[in-house]
């Protein structure tokens, strides 16, 4: 027989106390999603490893040992060594720094520029929308590769405009900005900037479409009728409603730019030896796959783990951010 309960229905007091905002509610829901939490933990661990391992493994990512050459994983080199006898583990986690930075910067650009751009264009519509989206179209039609090559050739050489600009910015922070050791760093920044420039375009289109569908909803009119301003409507009312697609697309952006970075590196436009990135390591490893499989295996494994985790985390975030989806397990 069912037990008869006499106490009043439990009100979640803890929830009441903390003014439940969209984010704190989302965080509470996200914590209940085990897969998403595990993925998040994995990503954090990976980032920590990328920061810590190259510094404390005892091997330098650039230190060659030509006598040693490529060796399989061993006690001395947990992930083996590459063609030049460099410790692969140091290289893989050093490469992770570059790959993560590229992913994070591209995602931030997507969020910051893409979502606001698309949100504003979609909400205001008419001429504003037409102008803003034509700018996106123009940037879209620009062949990315040619764009990067042209920039590289004309502005990013040893004495190119962009390189000089970089040296000017760097100047106050380092002893000698003209030291050639900064050139590879400049190269990476250049790749970041180039990828950042294109990563927000699709986001802008996706968000615009979402916002156009949403702005006709009565709650927009209702919010206007109590005095909410245009920008507050775009950023506080409409974009949160579009967060599902935004998050999903953002999690897709990360692998996309990591792979684009690999592609640029492969062409010699991105990360240059002796620096490494996951994309570059995978590309090199693929050449020697049949003979030295570990050179491919480890960077590819790290890449795969990261991308999988990002996808699961993205899924979890999307569900957690939608108050209507309740998966109370």
């Amino acid at each position: 027989m069912a037990e008869i309960r006499t106490e009043a229905p439990a009100v979640d007091l803890e929830r009441l106390e903390r003014g439940a905002s969209l984010w704190s509610d989302a965080w509470r829901r996200l914590r209940k999603n085990r897969v998403a939490v595990a993925s998040g933990v994995l990503i954090v661990l990976m980032i920590i490893a990328c920061v810590v391992v190259p510094a404390f493994s005892g091997y330098d990512y650039a230190q060659t040992n030509l006598e040693l050459g490529p060796t399989p994983p061993s006690k001395a080199h947990w992930m083996g060594t590459d063609f030049h006898g460099r410790d692969l583990m140091a290289r893989v986690f050093f490469g992770g720094r570059v790959s993560f930075s590229v992913g994070i910067i591209a995602t931030l650009m997507s969020f910051a520029i893409g979502a606001s751009w698309g949100g504003i264009a979609g909400y205001f519509g008419g001429r504003i929308d037409a102008i803003m989206m034509r700018i996106v179209d123009v940037l879209y039609t620009f062949p990315f590769l040619i764009f990067v090559i042209l920039l590289q050739v004309f502005f990013a050489g040893k004495d190119g405009t962009l390189h000089n600009l970089f040296k000017t910015i760097l100047g106050p922070f380092v002893a000698d900005a003209n030291d050639p050791k900064w050139f590879p760093i400049f190269q990476i920044c250049f790749v970041f900037a180039a990828l950042g420039c294109i990563s927000w375009l699709t986001m802008a289109r996706i968000v615009r479409g979402q916002v156009i569908a949403l702005r006709a909803q009565p709650f927009v009119e209702a919010a206007r009728s109590v005095g909410v301003g245009h920008m507050a409507i775009v950023f506080r009312h409409l974009l949160p409603n579009a967060l599902g697609p935004i998050i999903v697309y953002a999690t897709l952006t990360v692998p996309e730019v990591m792979l684009t970075e690999a592609f640029l590196s492969f062409l010699g436009l991105g990360t240059q030896e002796p620096l490494s990135s996951w994309g570059q390591l995978t590309a090199l490893g693929a050449e020697a796959m049949a003979v030295y499989p570990w050179i491919l295996l480890f960077p590819a494994l790290m890449l795969a783990i990261t991308l999988f985790s990002l996808n699961f985390l993205g899924d979890g975030l999307r569900d957690a951010l939608d108050p209507r989806i309740r998966k109370e397990q």
Binding site: G19, A20, L22, P218, G227, V228, G229, L321, P323
Partner: protein, 326 residues
């Protein structure tokens, strides 16, 4: 001078198919503590009138082309967007037909109400929570503190409409525009919401503009009634005069189309014959003339000047005997 006075308001929509004169010369006044009901069929311009007052007509394609909206001598058609934003929710608030979609599904009740308070009064945090809980209790939400963190989908339709009303009244406006506030609700909830509006009217000394096509609602709520047809008010006056002794053929026809339980003699419910004119194709002269039983030649030529008759303002060329109502 009335609290809110609309003078010869014209709101037109400039579409690809031509100009739609959604509101074409509407004048009315509302006083504190008074309910003015605007009645009319779909497309008669009731809602656009409401939106025009708040400057919320979608532009483009819509625009207020003429007229004045005077809120205590301040012409709202001439003030800027910034001033309008202060007025919206601060002095004039609006509630809408569909409570299911009028609240943002992604924001909790607290967040949505707190936003209004922070915009108009800069009240935030615990102080805002206190005000919100008090207001929610006021509009009849039981255990309001337990509802703060709820999202709209966790509330019933009636509850949501109460939250909407709370949001509209939070900053103690002077005028409340209610655009078919009960249409989407079931009958028992309708009655509750109307009673709530009545109560708040008394408590806050509100002027209420109630937009509806439900004559039952009008009979229950209205102090004064304005009947709209094709963008114009054809008859307005006290509820007793307009509903009790209608003088305009359109009001008459509407009255006759209300089913009555105590009258078994009529087997077929008389409807207003014909259809309302499609937007942008309003006939010349009196727009009602193709559907009118009392049409005379003049009706096809000129829109009748508004005149005083038997305690109301009427726009009709013909003197229809009020006795025809029954």
């Amino acid at each position: 001078m009335a609290l809110l006075s609309v003078r010869d308001l014209k709101t037109h929509f400039f579409t690809e198919d031509g100009v739609v004169r959604a509101v074409d010369g509407v004048s009315f006044d509302v006083e504190r503590g008074e309910v003015l009901c605007i009645v009319g069929e779909s497309g008669s311009g009731k809602s656009v009138t409401g939106l025009s007052i708040l400057g919320l007509v979608p532009d483009p394609p819509g625009r207020i082309v003429a007229g004045e909206i005077l809120l205590e001598r301040e012409d709202l058609t001439r003030v800027g967007e910034k001033r309008l934003r202060d007025i919206r929710g601060g002095r004039i608030a609006m509630i809408f037909q569909d409570p299911m979609t009028s609240l943002n599904p992604y924001l909790s009740v607290r967040t949505q109400l707190a936003e209004v308070l922070s915009i108009h009064e800069g009240v935030k945090g615990a102080e805002a929570d206190k005000r919100i809980v008090a207001m929610l209790g006021d509009v009849g939400i039981p255990a309001p503190e337990s509802r703060l963190s709820d999202y709209p989908h966790q509330l019933s339709g009636g509850m949501r409409q109460r939250v909407m009303i709370a949001m509209a009244l939070l900053c103690k406006p002077d005028v409340l525009i209610a655009d078919e506030p009960t249409t989407a609700l079931d009958v028992t909830i309708q009655a509750q919401i109307l009673e709530l509006l009545e109560k708040e009217k008394k408590a806050l000394d509100l002027a209420i503009i109630l937009i509806t096509h439900d004559l039952g609602v009008v009979a229950k709520m209205a102090d004064r009634v304005a009947v709209m047809y094709a963008g114009r008010i054809v008859e307005q006056g006290t509820a007793a005069a307009v509903l009790g002794r209608p003088c305009h053929p359109y009001t008459l026809a509407l009255r006759r189309s209300i089913p009555r339980l105590d009258d078994a003699s009529r087997e077929v419910l008389p409807a207003v014959r014909g259809m309302p004119p499609p937007p942008g194709k309003v006939p010349a002269g009196c727009p009602f003339h193709p559907r009118c039983d009392h049409v005379v030649d003049r009706c096809r030529e000129a829109f009748p000047e508004e005149r005083e008759l038997d305690g109301r303002r009427l726009s009709c060329h013909v003197d229809v005997k009020a006795g025809d109502a029954a």
